[in-house]
Symmetry: C2
Subunit: 390 residues, 2 copies
């Protein structure tokens, strides 16, 4: 996208030679909006970024992986401030136009001198085609970089959205649930961008669950206005189209995260329909998506619908057994809360051989409906998380 | 215990020759109290048992393993009623004095004819020393039977409590979270027994978590009154001593369950202290105990306190980072929300080599305190649950 450059390199935060410091810069201060983790313990970089975001403008995002700079107290806050200040100085931009993010191990002091030493090289490496490289620089246990690029003709001009993300563990919603950085050349105000981002996140980043909620989750979206034309207005058709495009971008990044869930082998889409309200549908879908018993059954390709029933019933939401149907892909294996028979179960089992699995749960005749995505729970997940840090 | 007999045998519900039908009988109708799962979908046997328990008297408990008789609709209810009726007929007791429980796979019709055929042999096998055998008969993925026997001199007479339990998967609280059957010869009224059982469960069965909440969880306690002497009275010293004894019995059964958690290698005790209220302390302790990242770190013997911080912060409870200390056994490795240093972390890591691990988390200066127990999350858990049913 015109007007945006990015880069990453190895600053020595990760023990091995893999990029661990990334930078995204716009030519001019861009309209900006952010979503932050709702974890009570927010990492110092998030405090700095939130403060800098108050006026709704950003020109640079500096991100390190390999160390979360979380639970690091006053020193951690100083380190995050240094990251912003040094980046600002090198680029010649206002320090309040610099956002900071960190991801990696919690509770270890950031090797701030290594970051400081690496910054000039990083700034020198900035390139209009550096997005993919930046996506690599923010990876932790991710096995592959996550990126998206979309464009659409909106209100007579071409509008672009690009984004990168990381996340495979500690992904759980009710907040921006990992790191994601998006940029668009759409012209719109900061309040409108905030609204569009919140709505886009609702059906994407907030609708996926892998395990826990992190201290460092952050979604940022920059809007350079480079596409030109009149600013998008709330309620207008162009704004609605833009919101859909942004939602699609967030959705693709979110699904890339679930697809790269730690140790995961499947992407499971869970839709609950027929609930009284969307909130109720979502609570039930999340209860199923979070259940370790459901997640292991998916891994074992076992159409164990009893575990889905148990998770639904445990959600605390009002639902009657006899109103429940469950379909795996096209195969409805539970009707009226009971098995549709062994032959049907065998057909449902075949659906589970796929990498992408759709589970559709009907819980009544209401209009409430919600879809969430989860990964399966595998021995590889356990191995990765039992031995990730030590 | 005098006045109580038990037995179990293989009725052919489990595919292999392992006991799957158990019976517990008192010589006379006993005072009885129960706790039921709060899962919205309660299995048919629980409906029957709840109905029969209304008058606070039971004389027999018939339990099958290998099939949960859950999500089986009207047929399931008929099957549970047949189990109660046939048991009552064979023993010559009132049908409303018979409780029914089932555990095992969900959604498969109960092989009621096999149960019916096995009942006469089961009744013939009843023995005063059959408790251990009954404990075997209620096992599913349990690797060993769970039983407890306690006695104490209370109010000038010896009072006994015995109990058996099963549970290793689908164990999560806010309800009676597995099957547990207790009996005592203490003399007391049904309302008082209910109260004692509810209080005893609070610090035991409701304080453990392995994964999910089941559709079939049930705790029953029978009191024969055989110990003689005046009935225990609320507020009296004898009642308080009895309640402690019952709590201890429940506690031991609950810990046996955590110790036999599916695939588990450790028992992790998590205490949160210094919270504003006990409820807040418990919510925080449970958030830590449920975190898959904390549970895998325990498995990996990694003193990854950052994951504990993240889980605490994600609990939604009010807590400030700088107020948090975390100790593994005697080693306080986090003070003021920050690491006490690498040397201390190494000492803490050694604590994690033990099978029983104590984690003490201080979150402030309040008087709220709670302790819960959890297992670690292992590759064996995944293997068991990915392939249990198919």
């Amino acid at each position: 996208m015109d007007g945006i450059r990015a880069a990453s390199l190895w600053a020595g935060i990760k023990p091995v030679n893999k990029p661990d410091l990334a930078l995204i810069v716009t030519d001019r201060p861009a309209v900006a909006a952010g979503l932050f983790t709702r974890n009570r313990f927010q990492a110092p970089p998030l405090h700095v970024t939130r403060r800098h975001l108050r006026k709704g403008r950003l020109q640079a995002i500096i991100i390190n992986s390999g160390n979360a700079n979380a639970c690091t107290g006053a020193q951690g806050l100083r380190h995050a401030e240094i990251m912003a200040r040094e980046t600002a100085r090198l680029l010649g931009v206002a320090v309040t136009h610099v956002a900071v993010a960190s991801t990696g191990v919690i509770g270890v002091p950031l090797p701030i001198d290594r970051i400081r030493r690496a910054l000039p090289r990083l700034a020198a490496a900035l390139s209009p085609t550096g997005g993919r490289q930046a996506a690599r620089g923010i990876m932790t246990t991710d096995t592959r970089p996550k990126a998206v690029a979309l464009e659409s003709r909106i209100g007579g001009r071409l509008i672009r959205i690009g984004g990168i993300a990381k996340g495979g563990g500690m992904v759980h919603p009710n907040m921006a649930t990992m790191l994601a950085f998006l940029a668009t050349d759409a012209p719109l105000s900061a309040p409108l961008l905030r609204r569009a981002l919140a709505e886009a996140a609702d059906g994407s980043f907030h609708a996926i669950t892998i395990d826990d909620m992190s201290t460092n989750d952050l979604v940022l979206c920059l809007a350079t206005g480079g596409a030109g034309g009149p600013a998008l207005r709330p309620g207008g058709a162009a704004y609605r189209q833009f919101r859909l495009l942004l939602t699609e971008a967030c959705h693709r990044l979110a699904l890339q995260m679930v697809g790269d869930a730690e140790g995961g082998t499947k992407i499971v889409q869970i839709t609950v329909q027929g609930a009284a309200t969307p909130a109720q549908a979502r609570a039930m879908a999340m209860a199923v998506a979070r259940s370790p018993l459901v997640k292991t059954a998916m891994y074992g390709e076992d159409p164990n619908w009893g575990r889905i029933m148990a998770a639904l019933g445990a959600s605390g939401e009002a639902v009657r057994e006899r109103d429940v149907s469950i379909a795996f892909g096209p195969v409805t294996m539970v009707r009226g809360g009971q098995s549709a028979g062994l032959a049907v179960e065998r057909r449902a089992a075949r659906v589970l051989h796929d990498r992408e699995i759709s589970v559709r749960i009907t819980v009544g005749r209401g209009r409430g409906r919600a879809t969430v995505w989860t990964s399966d729970l595998t021995d590889a997940y356990v191995r990765i998380n039992a031995h990730y840090r030590t």
